[in-house]
């Protein structure tokens, strides 16, 4: 069964939010990459917030991409934050150890307030 995901983004003053709904795996990861890439190129985007509220599943390729994003942003003094991952996604991120690195918040406002 092909996995489907809907990804949208919006840019705030010094941050950007990427909303995801559905499931992402190696087969449709390119959709996320194509949304994130232009945002990465803009140096004004200091805080990247990934809204995981609607995301049901991610696989190891997606975890690898999140790690890459974290490392890339970290090297340029920028921050990656996650919002409310669902239980399944939270389990995956915890298992792999990413939650040791990337802060998680319950809302976008909370994330922006605490990270700015």
């Amino acid at each position: 069964m092909p996995t489907e995901v809907k990804i949208t983004s919006r840019v705030l003053i010094t941050s950007c939010v990427i909303h995801m709904e559905g499931s992402i795996d190696g087969n449709n990861l390119d959709k996320l990459e194509s949304v994130v890439e232009p945002l990465l190129k803009d140096p004004n985007n200091r805080i990247f917030i990934m809204d995981f509220k609607g995301l049901q599943f991610i696989d190891s390729r997606v975890v690898g991409y999140i790690t890459f994003l974290y490392t890339t942003l970290n090297h340029s003094g920028r921050i990656l934050a996650l919002i409310s991952p669902t239980e399944a996604v939270d389990d995956t991120l915890t298992l792999v150890g990413l939650k040791n690195l990337i802060p998680t918040f319950s809302s976008i406002d909370e994330a922006i307030k605490k990270l700015q």
Binding site: M1, G26, D59, S60, R61, V63, G64, Y65, T67, F68, T71, T72, T94, L95, V96, G97, L98, N100, L101
Partner: protein
């Protein structure tokens, strides 16, 4: 003019029209001059000349281009060297010439692609064999433990690994399982790097899981892309004291079947995957798994828990836990392993294996129990067609 050049029929019609006009014109002139009789030789010469003219036109416009094309088509069909034909007209013969050139160009490309694929397939076979040779064929006998370990890769080269490494003094047995992001050649290369690092460090006296994981990570991190990582669980079996320890590096849970209570404990392995950050020494730790005789430890990769059946349901850790609850009482690691595999196979049914699958079952049988050699199986799915049609199994 283009109208005439584009079609042989139009050319023929034009020539016929011109000739007919010429004949009619000559007839009119002769009639006006009152010449009723034409000498036979004049008549014959005129007719023969006309026919020769028609033949000449036919030869130039049809026979020569067609023969030129036919020669190259014959060469192609008989396996000889052929060459491109320059189209000199834009009529039907010109179209066929152009078609021949396009087809042969595509054929050359396809032939090149096939040769390249064969070469790559042959190199993949070699890489797969190298990887099989690296994976353990047998493991050191470990008094107190009954072990079965099997892996099956989804492609020619896999990203799952496991190994059994004895410390130089023979007192510690390290058992580890690992899973690199994705599968195929990139995952296989990283898997082999890690295997080599772990084996080298143990041989140099690193004697606990935490140091092993931390050191492996620090050497691996600068050498791989930030998108790639490897999750792992390292078990350390202290033979002398009959104690087991685990160190997690972002891997799946460690399942422990408790014989006395017939329950399954699902332990989060903890830590962080190898290759994500430069220094994991503050995050990973080694913890004891207290074991009683009859208890079993199961390690696995996410190829098992993320396997789906035809309705899209995943097996998940809960599937494996339920299965272990049912079969953990069995007397040998092999019987536990086989029954876990049966439950898994029944769940996934006709399934296209999209990820590597590895499982290790370790039963603690006590120091005095006789143990047989560790059973290991390494296999890979053989071809795309077979992969899609056969019911999932560990062996080819």
């Amino acid at each position: 003019m283009k109208f005439i050049r584009k079609s042989l029929t139009n050319k023929a019609l034009l020539i016929f029209t011109l000739l007919t006009s010429a004949v009619v014109f000559v007839g009119i002139i002769l009639n006006r001059k009152g010449i009723m009789d034409i000498p036979l030789n004049v008549f014959l010469i005129s007719v023969i000349s006309l026919l020769l003219f028609v033949l000449l036109v036919f030869i130039i416009n049809v026979m020569i281009p067609v023969n030129r094309l036919l020669k190259q088509v014959t060469n192609l069909l008989t396996g000889k060297n052929y060459k491109k034909v320059d189209p000199t007209t834009i009529d039907e013969v010109g179209v066929m010439t152009h078609f021949f050139n396009e087809i042969t160009h595509d054929l050359e490309k396809i032939s090149y692609d096939i040769k390249e694929r064969r070469r790559m397939s042959s190199e993949l076979d070699i890489a797969a064999q190298i990887q099989k040779d690296v994976l353990p064929k047998e493991a050191p006998e470990s008094p107190g433990l009954d072990i079965v370990a099997k892996t099956c890769s989804a492609a020619e080269v896999g990203g799952d690994t496991f190994d059994f490494v004895l410390s130089p003094d023979g007192n510690q047995l390290f058992v580890y399982i690992g899973d690199v992001t994705g599968h195929g050649v990139p995952a296989g290369l990283i898997m082999m790097m890690v295997d080599t690092l772990v084996t080298a460090m143990i041989s140099r006296g690193v004697n606990n899981g935490r140091e092993l994981i931390a050191n492996t990570n620090s050497l691996l991190y600068p050498r791989i892309s930030s998108r790639l990582f490897m999750t792992s669980v390292m078990l350390r079996w202290d033979k002398k004291n009959q104690k087991m320890y685990y160190t997690g590096a972002g891997h799946e849970h460690v399942l422990v079947y408790r014989k006395n209570t017939e329950t399954v404990e699902s332990i989060k392995s903890g830590g962080i995957a190898l290759g994500m950050i430069p220094d994991v020494s503050k995050i990973v730790k080694e913890t004891e798994i207290p074991l009683e005789i009859g208890d079993s430890v199961v390690l696995f990769t996410d190829g098992i828990t993320e396997a789906k059946n035809q309705t899209g349901e995943m097996f998940e850790v809960t599937g494996l836990v339920e299965s272990l609850k049912k079969h953990g009482y069995r007397p040998s690691a092999e019987s536990i392993f086989d029954n876990l595999s049966k439950d898994f196979a029944n769940f996934v049914g006709e399934y296209v294996q999209v990820d590597d699958i590895t499982m290790i079952v370790i039963k603690y049988v006590g120091k005095d129990a006789a143990t047989s050699k560790v059973k290991l199986t390494v296999s890979s799915e053989e071809g795309q067609i077979q992969r899609k049609s056969k019911i999932w199994n560990w062996t080819d």
